[in-house]
């Protein structure tokens, strides 16, 4: 009993204290760690958490960038889902983009990384650079505008005219028929980015002894090797790559704008990002744009969770 009374005066274990007390005590004990993490947390909070929070609040107002916002409640969301036809088109397009470019570019990055990993180191370095080039050299996708230029001197148009297949140039990037497929192709072409690099890095960290052990334990072919040894070993990189692919696929807007103009013809390649730009930039409707951003945010978070679930199945 006396021992218990003593502990009541000077609590030592978690059970003796309230939750808050315990937290405070732990924080004091680890103050060095907190100090070290502070710079990042502050920046992260100010520049990421706060804006996200703010846009959630703004999405409930009619803020127009210049005047004091007025409270709107969920009106913006109602309009978004029930009245705005363009937004629905944008949702459809975004999902198409994301479901095609996201997985395809992800698996492409993985496969290419796997193949390249087999090459001798020097050649590997060169080939890696070549694959990575389209995504580092910024606006290199503009080459596609030359290829598919609406001008009769655009490469494809000139050839088609020359062969007599068409008699007036096709406006590739301004014709509903071609806009979407072309954009997807270009997106795939540029998508071998950071994810691809991280895969290569991940592949190289795997210890050779594991493969040897696998061989001893009866791995029959390279696919088994990949599934049971390689991939489980690089789960963090896979996760990282997946997150990147998803954000890229959903945030895919700049390339469409550069290729097809803004907005694309009859909204044929209008994505949620474009909706956001349209309302935020051209129409001065930041409140409404925030609502769109929140929706996009929710979609992305959901996708991330699904991916996480899927990845946990790797190697099982």
């Amino acid at each position: 009993m006396s021992k218990k009374q003593e502990t009541a005066k000077r609590p030592v274990s978690k059970g003796d204290m309230t939750r808050a007390q315990w937290t405070w005590k732990e924080m004091k004990r680890n103050k060095v760690a907190y100090a070290m993490v502070a710079p990042f947390v502050i920046l992260f909070f100010v520049f990421t958490v706060l804006p996200v929070g703010l846009s959630m609040i703004l999405s409930l107002t009619d803020f127009n960038m210049l005047q004091t916002p007025g409270w709107q409640g969920v009106n913006n969301y109602i309009r978004l889902f029930l009245e705005d036809e363009v937004f629905l088109i944008a949702c459809k397009n975004t999902l198409i983009f994301a479901s095609i470019t996201g997985p395809v570019s992800y698996f492409m990055a993985l496969l290419v990384a796997w193949f390249i990993n087999e090459l001798p180191p020097k050649i590997r370095a060169v080939v890696t650079l070549i694959f990575y080039a389209p995504s580092i050299s910024g606006a290199v996708y503009m080459i596609w505008t030359t290829l598919f230029s609406s001008d009769s001197y655009g490469w494809i148009n000139a050839k088609l005219l020359n062969w007599g297949i068409i008699d007036t140039p096709i406006l590739f990037f301004q014709d509903e028929k071609y806009v979407m497929p072309l954009c997807i192709v270009v997106a795939l072409w540029t998508s071998l980015g950071t994810a691809f690099l991280s895969f290569i890095a991940g592949l190289q960290t795997i210890d050779n002894s594991q493969f040897e052990a696998g061989a001893v334990d009866g791995v029959k072919n390279r696919w088994q090797e990949l599934w049971y040894i390689t991939l489980p070993n690089m789960k963090p990189q896979l996760m990282f790559g997946a997150v990147l692919s998803i954000t890229q696929a959903f945030g895919f807007g700049a390339i469409v704008t550069a290729l097809c103009g803004f907005p694309s013809v009859n909204y044929a390649a209008h994505t949620i990002m474009h909706c956001l730009d349209d309302y935020g930039g051209q129409r001065y409707e930041i409140g409404y744009a925030s609502a769109i951003a929140v929706v996009l945010f929710v979609i992305m978070i959901t996708c991330n969770m699904v991916i996480k679930k899927l990845l946990s199945k790797v190697g099982q």
Binding site: Q67, F115, I116, Y153, A158, T168, N208
Partner: protein, 1074 residues
């Protein structure tokens, strides 16, 4: 780990595939076509241009008379006879209209206006070759341009080059030794940076001998005149001019032909001792310059450049990127203390033409201070070359600074050696050294390149005529049978270019710099095409791009600049004792290190501020989203002119006893304004906001009205604003910044489209620029038969052509706007304002009968008449493929001036095609503007008044024309400024013809008003057009589909602003007429 062959092979193949796909294909267009028929027939559209195109070159003109003996030494000075736009200046009083200097008055002087023609009748005693010269004077109030005239003899063009005679003016910088802290003559700002001094005209009487403005000939033009009576006529191209006599002088008296050779010159002064002492001429301070584009600048690449500072920008050199056009000069005055023979030692950097050299001409004039005798130059002070070789003064290439003695290169029998020029100077005489940009010994070869370029161009067009835009490389076109001269010509030009390259190499002492490799490339291509006709189709597109490259090459070689630090006048005994051009390692290292650290403390946004008050909090906050040059010009104009304006012109300042309004001008990046207003840190005046954004801000209460009435009928803004706006601006520009009767800005720039015409091609086709759209369509078959077309602008977004056609036909983009054709015909302005004005812009005006008809015609132009929907305008205009093209009167002009120098003088712009209406032809073009705006904030009444004074000063005639001219002076002819002030246009540096065309179009301007939701229109019109174009839908149907979508958006957007007085109209609703 075991690697299988499968994986190896697969990865290899895959990587090859990706390597190939990742290779960036060079972004050439496949092939460009033009198929111009080179006919010799001359059209009637522009007699003078047609005549010039057909005229001989000077070389062809003078060749038959080469053996003609020089006539006797007769000098004829003839007073002026007659002409249009010619005004004989009678007496000093009239002289004062043209000049501020009474002492320059000359009896019998005549004023020649910038759009007139002057004629002289002369009697030639003996048949022979003569020089023709004019004694001229530049009257005040001219622009920055040099005087330009064209010459006719007996009503005929003697040779093509006589179209451009360039008479340079005399300009001077106003140095202020009293105000400059370092005694340099340059005023410094608060941080010690030098500020460019004002440049003003300092007119003097000069004698101009007709000579080549292109610089291809160093001697003067000779004219063959038979004995008897002749008329000599000068037609004006640009700028006013005063002349007092014309001098017909037998060829051979002055100029290269008779100027002594260097050896003769030296013999004159045999026995004169070597000079002693050194006179340093700091070249950044010229006494006079030929035009204001010759200006001093600051170079910090070397510690030795004098003066230099690690922290401040001090003017220490002249040249760099300016001072490189043929005929530009800078003049320096100096005296020496001992008689003797002197060298000119120059410190300079010539990095422009790698492996080649640049030529400058040394001209001198002198005046004995006691006797007035002139050793050098003409009696009136016009400088001349002391000896013929002075044209060939060469400045060699080196990738760093060099100090060398000015001279030329001469063959001493064993090869080329450098020869330093010696000049005779004596004390008591004031000498003026003119350093003029010329081509010297390069002239002949460069002219050969220029001729080759013309020939190759002609061959190219001939081939295209046969093969069309994209020739089939596998087809045999039988070039050798059909056009043997072309095939031969290509081979010949290949040989020519090769020999030119060899000649250049010889001139440059065997150097084969990178610069010359262009010639080799083109030469090789021509050799291939000329020797193997089957290569022609495949190589045609390369030839096309090489033509462009060769043009650029020629341009570069002609206008290459030299950065000059100083010139020493001294006798150099031993070249080893010349000053070190670079400084030693420690000097340089220390300079670099100190400048690096100083760069942390330099406040670049304070550059140019001379007044403490301008940095204080009370100063008027003016933001400018533009370039560094623009901001520097405005800064210096604020310093010099704005305070004058406050003191002398501004009623407000005078009434309140304000001597100076401090202004803090800040250069910002675009897009800063919105967040700054949000944070309530916006400026007092924002310069250059486009009209759409202005109205967007205004409707959201973020811009203050300049003039108007509020809902209760009280006047807001400034009392004198409306008068000011009406006096200075076109209604079309004002229209775009008006909303509900309030004006939210003052226009600064105004742009509109005009039609650019390649006159040479139109003349060949024997057609005139179309007056109406119908004319254009009628002209089209003729153009298309020759593989040509007309450019109506890209169809992306809202095409100006559609707007122009709509407003010409009387349609309006907005319903219930004042232009709306469906308003009751007899409505009075009061009734309109009461009933319809609040509804203006509530619905789209595209569904009216007129609009639908216009839209249909517009779509037909692209679907049925095959106008091009997307093209590279400047390029197709340059090749001649689109001899007619709609383009902005300033943007496209500026582009063509630098980009397409080889077609200079061959194109013009005129009013856009019109639409026939009941009241004659409507030529309206659409105006857009950028404005000076006062963002909303709680500023005091005084600040508001200050801001208004600033806005008025900034946008009025004087400041606008001054700014436009300074831009041209600083950046060159490609920096034409589109002022919105209609009164300022005349003072800008357009040629007379251009100015007339612009003012003609300015009489016919319309504009589209800005209402909330206007962003939606462009995209839906574009959608409708694309549907009609891509899917062949009926244009009217396609457009009507989108009308309700547009109206819904307008309705929604206007509801957002229902408090502002804008009334909304739902579907099917009409304005309530009570």
């Amino acid at each position: 780990m075991r690697k299988t062959y499968f994986i190896k092979t697969l990865s290899f193949v895959l990587s090859i595939v990706f390597v190939c796909s990742a290779m960036v294909v060079p972004a050439f267009a496949l092939s460009d076509s033009d198929n111009v028929l080179r006919k010799n027939s001359k059209g009637e559209a522009d007699d003078s241009l047609g005549a010039y195109l057909a005229a001989n070159t000077y070389a062809e003109y003078i060749a038959p008379y080469a053996d003609q003996e020089y006539p006797g030494c007769v000098v004829t000075e003839v007073p002026l006879a007659s002409g249009e736009g010619v005004d004989v200046i009678e007496g000093l009083d009239e002289w004062r209209n043209y000049s501020d200097n009474d002492k320059d008055y000359r009896e019998g002087a005549v004023f020649l206006s910038k759009d007139g023609e002057a004629r002289w009748t002369i009697t030639i005693p003996t048949t022979g070759r003569y020089y023709i010269a004019f004694s001229y004077y530049a009257p005040k109030n001219g622009t920055v341009n040099s005087i330009q005239r064209r010459l006719f003899i007996d009503g005929e063009i003697p040779f093509a080059e006589a179209r451009f005679l360039n008479l340079s003016k005399n300009w001077t910088y106003n140095y202020e030794p009293d105000n400059s802290e370092d005694g340099s003559g340059f005023v410094s700002d608060l941080n010690g940076n030098h500020i460019t001094p004002d440049v003003t005209q300092a007119p003097v009487w000069r004698t101009y001998y007709c000579s080549d403005a292109e610089g291809y000939r160093n001697d003067y033009y000779q004219f063959y005149l038979e004995a008897g009576e002749h008329t000599i006529e000068l037609g004006a191209e640009r700028e006013d001019c005063i002349m007092d006599k014309i001098i017909i002088e037998p060829a051979g008296k002055v100029g290269v032909v008779s100027a002594p050779t260097y050896q003769e010159y030296l013999d004159l002064y045999a026995g004169v001792p070597n000079g002693s002492g050194t006179v340093r001429i700091e070249t950044e301070k010229p006494q006079f310059v030929s035009d204001s584009a010759v200006y001093m600048t600051s170079d910090r690449s070397s510690v030795v450049t004098s003066p230099s500072s690690p922290s401040a920008q001090l003017f220490n050199v002249i040249g760099a990127n300016s001072y490189n056009s043929i005929g530009q000069w800078a003049a320096y005055t100096f005296t020496v203390s001992e008689e003797g023979m002197y060298h000119f030692v120059m410190r300079y950097k010539q990095t422009g033409l790698e492996g080649m050299y640049v030529c400058r001409t040394i001209k001198l004039s002198s005046i004995d201070l006691s006797t007035g005798e002139r050793e050098y130059g003409l009696p009136d002070g016009t400088p001349t070359v002391p000896f013929a070789e002075a044209y060939n003064t060469r400045l060699n290439y080196e990738d760093d600074w060099q100090v060398s003695v000015l001279g030329d290169v001469v063959n001493d029998g064993n090869g080329d050696v450098a020869r330093d020029f010696l000049f005779h100077f004596k004390p008591g005489v004031e000498y003026t050294l003119y350093l003029e940009v010329g081509l010297g010994t390069l002239a002949e070869q460069l002219q050969r390149v220029s001729n080759s370029l013309d020939n190759i161009n002609a061959y190219y067009l001939r081939i295209l005529q046969l093969t069309g835009a994209s020739p089939d490389p596998n087809r045999d076109y039988h070039f050798a049978e059909i056009m043997p001269d072309v095939v031969y010509g290509l081979a010949y030009e290949g040989v020519q270019l090769d020999s030119i390259k060899k000649e250049f190499e010889r001139l440059c002492g065997g150097n084969t710099g990178e610069h010359l490799s262009t010639l080799e490339l083109v030469s090789n291509l021509l050799a291939t095409m000329g020797t193997d006709e089957y290569e022609i189709p495949a190589k045609l597109s390369s030839l096309k791009s090489y033509l462009g490259t060769l043009g650029t090459w020629l341009n570069q070689s002609r206008n290459s600049s030299v950065t000059v630090d100083y010139v020493d006048v001294c006798f150099v005994e031993n070249k080893d004792n010349l000053p070190d051009p670079d400084g030693n390692f420690f000097q340089r290292a220390w300079f670099e290190i100190t400048s690096f650290f100083h760069s942390f403390f330099t406040e670049y946004d304070q550059m140019g501020i001379t007044n403490e008050a301008d940095m204080s909090d009370e100063a008027l906050d003016v933001w400018l989203a533009s370039g560094r040059d623009q901001s520097k010009i405005w800064r210096s104009m604020i310093d010099s002119d704005f305070s004058d304006y406050c003191k002398t012109e501004s009623e407000y300042c005078q009434a309140n006893g304000i001597g100076n309004i401090p202004v803090a001008l800040k250069l910002i990046t675009g897009g800063t304004l919105l967040p700054s207003i949000l944070a309530d840190k916006g400026p007092d005046v924002y310069m250059g906001l486009d009209s759409t954004t202005t109205i967007n801000y205004a409707i959201r209460g973020a811009a203050d009205p300049i003039y108007g009435f509020d809902a209760d009928g009280n006047q807001v803004g400034f009392a004198d604003a409306m008068d000011y706006l009406n006096e200075n601006f076109d209604e079309a520009a004002l229209n775009t910044i008006e909303l509900l009767g309030k004006y939210y800005g003052v226009p600064m720039t105004m742009n509109f489209a005009m039609m650019y015409c390649r006159m040479d091609i139109l003349l060949e086709l024997d057609v005139t620029p179309p007056e109406t759209w119908d004319d254009l369509l009628a002209l089209l078959p003729m153009l298309q038969a020759n593989n040509l077309s007309a450019g109506l602008g890209a169809t992306e977004g809202l095409n100006t052509t559609l707007e122009i056609m709509m407003y010409q036909a009387g349609a309006s983009m907005w319903r219930y706007d004042i232009d709306d054709p469906e308003l009751p015909a007899d409505i009075t302005p009061e009734e309109y304002n009461r009933v319809y004005a609040p509804y203006a812009g509530a619905k789209i005006g595209l569904d009216t009968t007129v609009s639908l008809k216009v839209f249909e015609n517009y779509c037909r132009m692209y679907t049925d008449y095959s106008f091009t929907t997307k093209y590279d305008g400047a390029n197709r205009f340059r090749t001649g493929e689109m001899p007619l093209m709609l383009g902005d009167y300033v943007d496209l002009y500026n582009q063509l001036v630098v980009f397409a120098t080889e077609i200079a003088g061959l194109w013009e712009f005129c009013t856009v095609p019109g639409t026939k209406t009941d009241n004659g032809i409507n030529y309206d073009s659409m105006a857009t503007s950028t404005n000076l705006v006062m963002p909303h904030s709680n500023r005091s009444e005084t600040t508001r008044a200050y801001a208004w004074e600033y806005i008025k000063w900034n946008t009025e005639e004087e400041a606008q024309s001054e700014y436009g001219n300074r831009m041209v002076a600083l950046i060159g002819p490609s920096a034409k400024y589109a002022t919105a002030n209609v009164n300022a246009i005349d003072n800008l540096s357009w040629t007379t013809k251009e100015a007339n065309a612009i003012s003609e179009q300015m009489k016919h301007l319309s504009s589209i008003k800005n209402f909330p939701g206007s962003y939606i229109i462009a995209r839906y019109i574009n959608f409708a057009f694309l549907e009609a174009y891509n899917q062949g839908t009926d244009p009217g149907d396609a457009l009507l589909k989108y009308i309700s979508a547009i109206n819904t958006e307008l309705y929604r957007k206007r509801q957002e602003f229902h408090d502002s007085g804008l009334k909304v109209l739902g579907t099917g609703e009409e304005p309530i007429v009570d």
